[in-house]
Subunit: 388 residues, 2 copies
């Protein structure tokens, strides 16, 4: 049967990353393409024990329908953790979601009319672009100059175009690894507040800091819920659980609850109970320390391999945290066209062009250093240098 879909479907593209991942999954390929954590570091034993204990307590409510907002003790625990990042909040300001991707989707559903403008970094997280596109948003991009964000240009742009939402990943951004300075955070907040534009602060990576602490989240400077914060357990615990959260004003949480009721009633009860057990009976901080150390070594290794192989032939970011390095080749290269050659040589990356809205770059690529092993990083960067 031929279906007649809604207008918005014409704006919904398949994720190039995910299609790519299918090829890059073959065992002989060294993949810098995914955005995957290192599976060998997952706290399997602790998660097993958490599910076991929660399911041994003879409390069948762990398998019953639950409140749309989420399991109250977990929301309280998250509120306490937010406090340690400088975000003072309460359980009533928190909604549990199926990863922060669902947070993005619910916010896009609440805010975006077809044609509304979303202001974001260019390049930006592909999943966010997809979510906003599926509600038929238009995009404008944050103006930058040599010093970082161009504040004057940003103010003019917001004043003249009145975006509906500003979407930012200010800390160790996917795909570039770039981080906003504290001054830039405060500047964006000040301008957004003046023109009454809410900011969505997507913060999946701030625990993955390798050179001192991450800068404080923008929400920690906000006084009137101008900033809606998205958090996730995908990078600090495990992405296959699909658990994240939104921090926002109570009125916004009430609207999000209605949106989530219609979307999937609530996030899994057992999942929330087991995660709460893990957070309160094990040492998540120690676990994060372990990941941090491993990823820091991989980042250092990738940076030194890049220096050996690409010195004078390319530019790359030197991220102080996160999971990604952004490599820019000379103008004459096209990383999308080079990809089949790379895959044939058994190395994979994501062409930079996939992360752009509006004006695109054809000569950049995203390299992930959290998932490949140190040996793979050494070999993979050499392979990459060979084909370029």
């Amino acid at each position: 049967m031929q279906y007649t879909f809604a207008e918005r479907v014409t704006h919904m593209d398949s994720s190039a990353i995910r299609e790519l991942l299918k090829v890059a999954e073959q065992p002989q390929i060294i993949s810098f393409a995914g955005g995957l954590p290192a599976a060998e570091l997952f706290p399997l034993e602790e998660i097993k024990e958490s599910y076991y204990q929660v399911l041994s307590a003879k409390d069948p409510s762990v398998l019953q329908y639950g409140a749309t907002e989420g399991y109250l003790p977990l929301r309280q625990e998250i509120a306490a953790q937010m406090g340690m990042k400088g975000i003072m909040t309460e359980a009533e300001n928190i909604l549990l979601t199926n990863g922060s991707q669902q947070g993005l989707d619910l916010l896009a559903k609440l805010f975006i009319n077809p044609g509304d403008v979303v202001l974001l970094q260019n390049p930006s997280y592909l999943g966010a672009i997809q979510s906003f596109q599926s509600y038929q948003a238009n995009f404008m991009t944050i103006p930058t100059n040599k010093a970082g964000i161009d504040e004057n240009a940003l103010e003019v742009l917001i004043k003249h175009n009145q975006p509906k939402i500003i979407y930012l990943t200010p800390t160790y951004q996917n795909p570039t690894g770039i981080t906003f300075t504290t001054e830039e955070r405060k500047a964006v907040l000040r301008i957004a507040r003046n023109y009454r534009v809410p900011i969505i602060e997507d913060d999946p990576y701030s625990e993955l800091c390798y050179d001192g602490q991450a800068a404080s989240p923008i929400r920690s400077f906000s006084t009137d819920d101008e900033v809606i914060y998205l958090g996730t357990f995908s990078k600090t615990l495990a992405p296959g659980l699909r658990l994240g959260w939104i921090v926002g004003g109570k009125n916004l949480i009430a609207k999000l609850v209605i949106a989530k009721q219609g979307s999937d009633l609530h996030t899994g009860t057992l999942l929330q109970r087991a995660t709460h057990y893990y957070l309160t009976h094990f040492s998540p901080t120690e676990h994060i320390e372990k990941i941090r150390h491993a990823y820091q070594c991989r980042r250092d290794l990738m940076l030194s391999e890049l220096k050996k192989a690409f010195s004078n032939k390319a530019l790359w970011t030197e991220p102080t945290g996160g999971m990604f390095i952004w490599l820019t080749l000379p103008e004459e290269y096209n990383t999308l066209k080079l990809l089949p050659k790379a895959l044939a040589t058994n190395v994979a990356y994501v062409p930079g062009t996939n992360f752009y809205v509006n004006e695109k770059s054809h000569n950049s690529m995203r390299l992930n250093f959290s998932n490949p092993s140190p040996a793979q990083i050494q070999q993979g960067i050499k392979l990459l240098a060979k084909i370029l």
Copy 2:
């Protein structure tokens, strides 16, 4: 901060059921209001063992990102189970979702432009109404007469209004408990096919059959993917897991995958692996038999208590399966206005008016018999009779 929401937010209402459940959760209240399975029947031990085994296999991929479509062996297992219901299908026709509520939301997102007409039963499942409303659908209702569906009126209505989607729960419907005959199923399919309108068949209850087998699903008669089928583990296993599936044509599944990528990337990997373990290592059929027996006793008891207490004073459905009885009082009663009195007497129900679109009924109520214990059913129906 005052936010400016999207136009669709004005169409999104909070679920009266869920607000109600909060009051009805108090332990002294006998609640016929929820749509909850009996928690004491959940296979806690088997689910515990399933998670334990899956997490003991030293395979960290159970916690890693996964394919949006879902875990292939689970999709294969579901395809095989669909075959036993007369739906011949393959893993490639199946998308895993967070309960069938997410299936509804993804389908509404794909099909509904603001103002599009959804044709549905009146009354209908509240969660479906909410999902369609959030995409600004208009509603028309299936015409009925004494004999059931009025086929001629249905054909005229479809011809003149060209609905975008027909949404049906043909088996043991929520809220009424009513089931379409095989003739009605075939008639709706024939008319829908003639006018090229896809049907969403929501089928959460068909395993809960108490008087012989349920009629075959409409999808089992469809030859060209005219029927999109929604299944769930919420009633046969446990709703707190949040796991359901969509069966549809491969082209439709491809579109749904794109929509689900933007919504939450994929359904939990560990959840899918543990559910697959449960289905292939335990006896789900025996477990369903156990639920069926318990619910049948509760249905029989509620029907006999209604007969004792309401004979000649009310009408009610006598469902052959599912979880609900629909009670209709004489015209002069208003079940919404009576609810505070009922709650004060420690008994809860859902006023029928919540399940209606367009023309409403004020003198009906939905009674759930799966969650209350037999003793609560006896006492609760007596309390209900007293206040009426």
